[in-house]
């Protein structure tokens, strides 16, 4: 039985400390935005979670390529871990976006390109989990999952372009002005620092979670093997 790696312990603590500092910065260091007020503070974690979500989906695609090249199931494990974490973080980013959008755009939901693309991306990776559920043979599951993550990685940017095109050609009639322009603001240095710090913090948290999830996957494999051995 392997014990928890020392470095992972350190990483856990670093994540926690960074998270506390980032939260403090959001509430006490960053100035209150003049027009939108307090609600704008959701922006820092909103950007950071969305960034982690994106990072995870790209990581999943790269792990998919890694699996197809090496046939090593470790890559599949990593790919699944990245997708699971990203799904959660992306969902958090979308919810935070809605919380922010309500006061500044006047609605929880708008068919804005980034928002729509984020939701389509969530659906792609929800389909990924369903695909995995339908497959029992680990080799085949890994192969199909790898192919699907790669297709997803290619499709998401094209989706973004198409939705953006959809919006720019199609004038926004409902609502009094361009949705993207509303709620825009210029950042002060303190705001920018807070945002960058949040992004770094969440990236560290992402790495820690990813490591935990990969470890969990490996342990689950081991349990499965032991069970098979017992059954024989």
């Amino acid at each position: 039985m392997e014990t928890k790696p020392r470095l992972l312990n350190v990483l856990d603590w670093v994540s926690l400390v960074l998270f506390v500092i980032a939260t403090g910065m959001v509430f006490f260091y960053a100035p209150t935005e003049a027009i939108m007020g307090q609600v704008q503070r959701v922006f820092y974690f909103h950007v950071a979670t969305a960034w982690v979500g994106l990072l995870g989906f790209i990581a999943a695609g790269l792990a998919g390529i890694g699996y197809l090249r090496t046939n090593n199931l470790k890559w599949d494990n990593a790919s699944l871990a990245a997708v699971e974490i990203s799904l959660i973080f992306f969902a958090v980013a979308i919810v935070m976006g809605s919380i922010w959008a309500r006061p500044s755009w006047g609605t929880y939901w708008t068919w804005e390109p980034r928002l729509t693309t984020a939701t389509v991306t969530e659906l792609i990776y929800a389909a990924y989990l369903l695909l995995r559920q339908g497959l029992e043979d680990p080799e085949r599951r890994a192969r199909f999952s790898a192919v699907y993550t790669i297709l997803g990685c290619i499709s998401v940017p094209i989706t973004f372009v198409s939705i953006r095109l959809f919006r720019t050609i199609h004038p926004v009639v409902i609502g009094n002005a361009d949705a993207a322009a509303q709620g825009g603001f210029s950042m002060t240095p303190a705001m920018f620092q807070t945002m960058m710090f949040s992004v770094v913090t969440f990236s560290v948290i992402f790495v820690a979670l990813l490591w935990h999830r990969i470890r969990l996957g490996n342990l689950a494999d081991k349990v499965e093997q032991l069970r098979l051995k017992l059954a024989q």
Partner: protein
């Protein structure tokens, strides 16, 4: 064997080497297409199911959307593409399930041809069925709703859109049939990945129907071409992994 004949033979193959490979690839591809068409000619189960389904969808839309002349002009493109998409999914599922159930896929994989030739064969076969359904839905829509759809631009858009949709669909249906939940899985896998081409196809179709100036429509056509090229190339690269045993 005489030595000179060996020499001449190796020279011949080295001369036409790459081209001969390409020719064999095309021949293998069209053998698969021909097989699908011949099977369909005998049973007619796929095309009839797709067609009846497409017409049913058109009827349901009529009642669901109250397609009076005024609404019709704005929703025609959307109705058409939803119809094609649903009917296409039905066909894609059936076409791969047929291969899987009767063990044909294993037979195909045993043949000494490039695996991607099988992909392109299946894809072209599916595309032909899709075009056939579209060719019948067009006049049907025209008659039912007295809206003239015969527009060269629209036909071109349907052509480009169907290619992208079927290219992705053929690849994913090859994956979906090998899962436990295959009948429900294909649309779930396929729809989120084909959103860009569906958006582009609907917008371009609507543009041609409303006789918009060409430059406005052109960006959608470019997008469809990009989608088609990118995903045909991607499918070409990954299909081996999907059918590998």
């Amino acid at each position: 064997m005489k030595p000179e004949s060996v020499v001449s033979r190796t020279q011949e193959t080295s001369e036409s080497g790459p081209l001969a490979g390409a020719r064999a690839f095309v021949r293998a591809t069209f053998a698969v297409v021909w097989k699908d068409l011949a099977a369909e000619m005998r049973s007619r189960e796929l095309i009839s199911a797709m067609l009846v389904f497409a017409l049913l969808v058109l009827f349901i839309f009529n009642f669901a959307l109250e397609l009076d002349p005024k609404t019709r002009s704005t929703v025609t493109a959307g109705v058409l593409w939803v119809t094609f998409t649903f009917a296409g999914t039905l066909g894609l599922n059936r076409s791969m399930a047929m291969e899987k159930d009767r063990g044909c896929l294993d037979g195909l994989l045993l043949t000494p041809v490039d695996r991607s030739a099988i992909y392109f064969g299946k894809m072209i076969g599916n595309l032909i069925f899709m075009f056939l359904v579209e060719a019948i839905v067009f006049p049907a829509y025209t008659v039912l709703y007295s809206a003239n759809l015969f527009n060269l631009g629209l036909v071109f858009v349907v052509f480009l859109g169907s290619i992208g949709y079927i290219a992705m669909g053929t690849l994913l249906s090859a994956m979906a049939v090998q899962t436990r939940t295959r009948d429900i899985l294909l649309p779930i896998l396929l729809f989120p990945l084909t959103i860009p081409i569906l958006i582009a196809a609907v917008k371009a179709s609507a543009g041609f129907l409303a006789a918009d100036p060409l430059p406005e429509i052109l960006s959608w056509i470019n997008l469809m071409v990009v989608y088609d090229v990118v995903f045909i190339a991607a499918a070409f690269m990954v299909f081996d992994y999907v059918v590998e045993e």
